[in-house]
Amino acid sequence: MKLWLAIAVLAVWAGLACFGWLLPLNPSEIDLTRILMPPGADAWLGYDDLGRALWDRVAVGARYSFFVAIFVVSISAVVGTAIGAVSAYLGGWLDHVITRIIDIFLAFPGILLAIALAGVLGAGLGNVVIALTVVGWVGFARLARAQVLAQKSREHVQAAIALGARRRRILLRHLLPLIGASLIIEATFGVAAVVIAEAGLSFLGLGIQPPAPSWGSMIRDSSRYMLVSPHMVIVPGMALMLVVIAVNTLGDALRDRLDVRLRGGRASSTN
């Protein structure tokens, strides 16, 4: 996907999420005469098995996927980065303990811990955010820890220590800007992961609850009608795929532009 196209897709996604309430969307309105109607000139993206307009449902679903992703990634990024950076900077037994905890969280494969947590906490929007954040912070913690370890012996940090700067100042002013680029890249790919995870939990019936439309639950509900109305799976599926591909494209582009490793390590001083 071209970068401009990816940015356009993301703009539509964010626009629908933030300003969708300005549009006349009725995701739960039932029109019995239009049950399973395929996409067409007067049907937009078609209708589902209850006669609800798929365009309205996908557009409102964008709201859930967008805000869940933004919330989860921002909380995970702040908490994870703080834990990882402090752990690496202070070192000692604290670092040892935190590293072990990170290892344990990383030992749960993929979305499994989120499935378990969402299953135990009960379905619902808030619990989805909690479950995905509990899983999400680890990646940031590991990255921030590794980056701070790599950067903390640099001259300007040593100089700041020698000048008597406080730890908080050194972490926030002298180390965080250095690792910011990799954190932004991690956060971008994190958005794609959370969008998929939220849809996955909703697909399993552990996420956003009906009648609220989540792309994941729309895909699940479509399975019984797939032969007669394939548009019921294709419409939310395409929405999900477009957003994920767009986010990944943006992540790749950011990595090419920001990643210090690709520019021979020297450029990091200008960040």
């Binding site: 290892d103 749960f108 494969p109 378990a116 947590l117 135990v120 794609a192 996955g200 552990l206 591909i245």
Partner: protein
Amino acid sequence: MIAFVLSRLSSALLVVFGVSALVFLLIHAIPGDPVEVMLGETSQPADREELRHALGLDQPLPVQMLEYYRRLLHFDLGTSLYSRRPVAQILAERIPATAELAVAGLAAALLFALPLGVIAAVRRGTPWDSGAMMFSMLGVSIPNFLMGPLLILIFSLWLGWLPVSGREGLASLVLPALTLGTALAAILSRMIRATLLETLAEDYILTARAKGLPWHRVIFHHAMRNAMLPVITLLGLQLGALLAGTVITEIVFSWPGIGQLTIESIHRRDYPVVQACILLISVTYVLVNALTDLAYGWLDPRVRLRQSDRGAA
């Protein structure tokens, strides 16, 4: 080498210990009274007390924890609240289906990734390369719960080649394996392309070419060996995603494995079974990872040296 094996195994054991602690604590994450949640709000107080006692939830937390570990060591995973049967027995019935699916998914991933990655690297910059990379982009961006229905739509409903769901014979394994393997195939083919390109730029490849060896010999005998090392590590790490992917894939295809059992048990509030399933999948992942590391250390001596450096630091 022995020191490396021991240090890797002991850290794996420590992680298993921590993972089981977290799984144990999971039941305490249930909001409110777990017993009430499991039995429903209309349950009798006497029944609740009975279950509370049976689950050991009337004991102080440290006692519960010790008891939990003591039972784990005896492979006693408790009793299902739903079917009243030992959890270990239920798991044992489901393991073959999931193992079969995971192995088939892995095989499908390798079957696609190897040729795609090699062709993309060898024919770099041609339509072959961009085609393979497009597949890779699509593969990582289509989650299992979308890939599964799409494959069913095309190959079962439209073409009628393969069964829609269930576990009856080899044909029923094809679509679940493809669904599970696609994401891994996508990631692996990218990695194979990248490492193979890097290896092909090395001097010894030039030497092999200069000797007049044919291309296929250079690629498969000289380059692939070195190029595969990072791929093996990635494979070990990605097996976790594959195992987690079995949960959703089993739901899509009604495949009677551990994943389906996990979700069924969550909906039935059968938490002893949920805990056991999560524990089983995670511990499998930890062990597979440890084995991958050991295999890698055995293949490449630099790894075990680096590892022991890090262990000492």
